[in-house]
Subunit: 170 residues, 2 copies
């Protein structure tokens, strides 16, 4: 059984998930919260749909997670004047702080998780995993079933990353 890479992968991931969840739960947070805050801090405000793509969180799950973050005052939703369908989600000052706190916890967990590996080995592992993810390129999370041929043709005014830290000073 332990010769199957997918077994090793899922078991290790399960353990990682265990550690992460534990670390976050101690702060009353869950994984989605961190993912979202981290993405907002690193890459700036975005519509929910765009956020979902960035974080690989389904739109349907996003709604709930954002509700939680919003009612805790960590993010703000405001209607996009340029497109009434969209909410622009931005992180607040408190959210930034929260993000940093969760990042610290996440980092601590990494160390615990990777304890037996040397620095080079950690890089090796990360590199291999990254390559796996890039191939299989998790190619835009469909909000609903996409007509199989129709992938991303007209990109229109798609959110381009705020080119640097555009509005990051929220």
């Amino acid at each position: 059984m332990d010769h199957l890479p997918s077994w090793l992968l899922t078991q290790t991931a399960a353990h990682a998930h265990r550690l992460v969840t534990e670390g976050f739960a101690a702060a009353g947070a869950k994984g989605y919260h961190y993912r979202l805050l981290a993405s907002l801090i690193a890459d700036g405000p975005a519509s929910q749909a765009a956020l979902g793509r960035r974080t690989a969180i389904y739109l349907s799950d996003l709604v709930g997670a954002l509700n939680e973050l919003e009612s805790a005052g960590f993010v703000e939703r405001s209607p996009d004047p340029a497109d009434k369908r969209r909410n622009v989600v931005a992180v607040t000052a408190a959210g930034r702080e929260r993000g940093a706190e969760l990042a610290a916890r996440a980092a601590a967990v990494q160390d615990e998780l990777l304890a037996p590996l040397s620095a080079e080995e950690r890089e090796q592992l990360a590199g291999l995993l990254r390559r796996l993810l890039e191939h299989h390129a998790l190619p835009v999370r469909p909000a609903r079933h996409e007509p199989p041929g129709a992938a991303r043709v007209s990109v229109r005014n798609e959110e381009r990353p705020p080119s640097a830290d555009g509005d990051l000073s929220a």
Copy 2:
């Protein structure tokens, strides 16, 4: 975000899980079924508690999975004459066949998953993951909360692995 090993790990694992689930679902099976059959085939019959330890499946989940496998005729439960608390779970001939079928599917998935990696790299990845698992040695899944000091003292007549393929000829 993609600099966090645990992120890479869980994302890759999620994808692996996706592929595996898909592959098994096409055969009307789920992950637990394969894990159990594989363990029974490879390491012989066992009590449910022992099986749970071998496969890292919780006893509570095991019951359901075994019910499914049993009613499909893939495994048999019989009372252990030496210990009335125990069921001895053994794989049937049909179960062996089913196991092989699922193993083939699992193997196919591995290839798809690891497509971008060379043989050495695959070994590397497996090795690194194995080391992570060994450290953090997922040390005997507690059936219920264990008094923190009391881990595995008197092992009594614990199932020792059937030393080779003891009863594998079921």
